[in-house]
Amino acid sequence: MIEVRDLRKSYDDFEALKGLTFSSNAPVLTIVGRNGAGKTTLMRVLSTQLSPTSGLALVNGFDVVKEANKVRAIVCSIPQEAKPAGMASPLEHVVMYLTARGMSFKESFQSARASLKEVGLWEFKDKPCDELSGGMKRKVFVAMALASNADVVFLDEPTTGLDPLSRMEVWSVVKNLKAQVVLTTHYMEEAEELSKEIVLMHQGRVVATGTSSTLLKPLEGKVRVEGFGDGYRVGRTTISYLDREKAKQLVGDGYVIKPISLDDLFVLYGLQEN
């Protein structure tokens, strides 16, 4: 269970989180937003890596400031830019992490081996990580999350830079985690594939929360038309949302007409403020 009330995080001249309030006990909660929306800051605050400036953040009822150690006992957090150390092997990484989480050596080795098998790294378990591909390196951290036995797992952009097949492999692991998963992503299809609940962030604020269908409710019955009218500007393109019937009249006029997808949330809730 994640609960956040008026959560703020400020740096010298910059407010990264501007009073966030939401709660969720969805098995997989996805936080989406553009670069700089505050997603990583929120993840770091929730997983006790970063102190908030004010407000309240609870993980399974434990306060991330006053009960940080209790939070740490139940969470696993994989940072966005985490990379494996080149000279250590996947097995060494996972075992080290599991001992940090308090497991015995025996438990750590057993869990590490099982998770490395599950993510498809078993053959490479003793190879130095600098000999692994980008996707395999990312999977080392997925194996850590899988073996962690944590109640809440924070995954900050776990599939950024992965090829489609590797992304699907990561998704299958995420779906099978017994923990509540909180993940951030830029990929809307990832949010749709993995989670029932989405928090949309923009410039340090929560601009919308809900399921993919409730968030897309304003666009029900509409299609996306690019290059038409005075809609939203995205780069050099104008995007308008028109009723299907009206859009049918534009077919053949050279406009790009597409069905609504979760990507349109970025346009609806994010870009319009620019």
Binding site: R44, S47, T48, Q49, L50, S51, A68, N69, R72, A73, V75, C76, S77, I78, P79, Q80, E81, A82, K83, P84, A85, M87, A88, S89, E92, H93, V95, M96, Y97, T99, A100, R101, G102, S104, F105, S108, P128, M144, F154
Partner: protein, 244 residues
Amino acid sequence: MGYRRTRFIASLAWFYGYSALKRGPVYVLSYMVSPLSLLFLIYVISKGALIQYAVLGGLLATIVGNSLTSIGDFAFLRLEIKLQDLVVATQVNSLDYLLGLTLGNLIFSVPGVATYVALGEVYHMFTLLNSLWTLFSILLIMISSSSLSFLIASLLKHVRYAWGLAGFLSVAFTIIPPLYYPASVLSPSLIYPLMLAPSTPAALILQSQFGLWNGSYITPLVVLVVETLVYSALAIKFSRWRES
């Protein structure tokens, strides 16, 4: 210290020290080449007369050099590969993390230490008593220098500063203090400021114990113990762990 914490420290040392030793032998050669070159130079110039200084100096320089160059590693682990962030979100504290990395550094330094112990044996330098003093001094300078490295690395905002700083401090702490030359050539007015570097009191203790310096080892011993405590405390108190 609980078994749980000891287990993590051992595991991190294995992860950080043993993996580097096993898979990066070129780095072992890299940290050994400078002290061994100096040993060669001192041997040739002094026609062997100052070889004992070179052996003790090389032994201490290996430890201090590796501990201080780890500024780069510590900063890299924190800023580039986010290992520190990963560990902060567990029940591990900064002291356990520091001890794990220090022990890892000690493991990584074993080939260098073994080389100098072997050279010391060749020149019949070691007795049981001075061996114990050597071990004691090595442990203290490793802890104090690693603490300084951890503190400095934790305050850096960018990795690009780390390697240069590490190289600079490593040379400053191993070449300027009396590691490779007799402490007797220094006036007290020079020795005292040099004492700020833990390598200076460690060198004075060993030169005294090995009969290479007439001064008393008591003052350097007190300084080294105090520095180890102070630098460790500073590292625990002021290093950036959970970021604010």
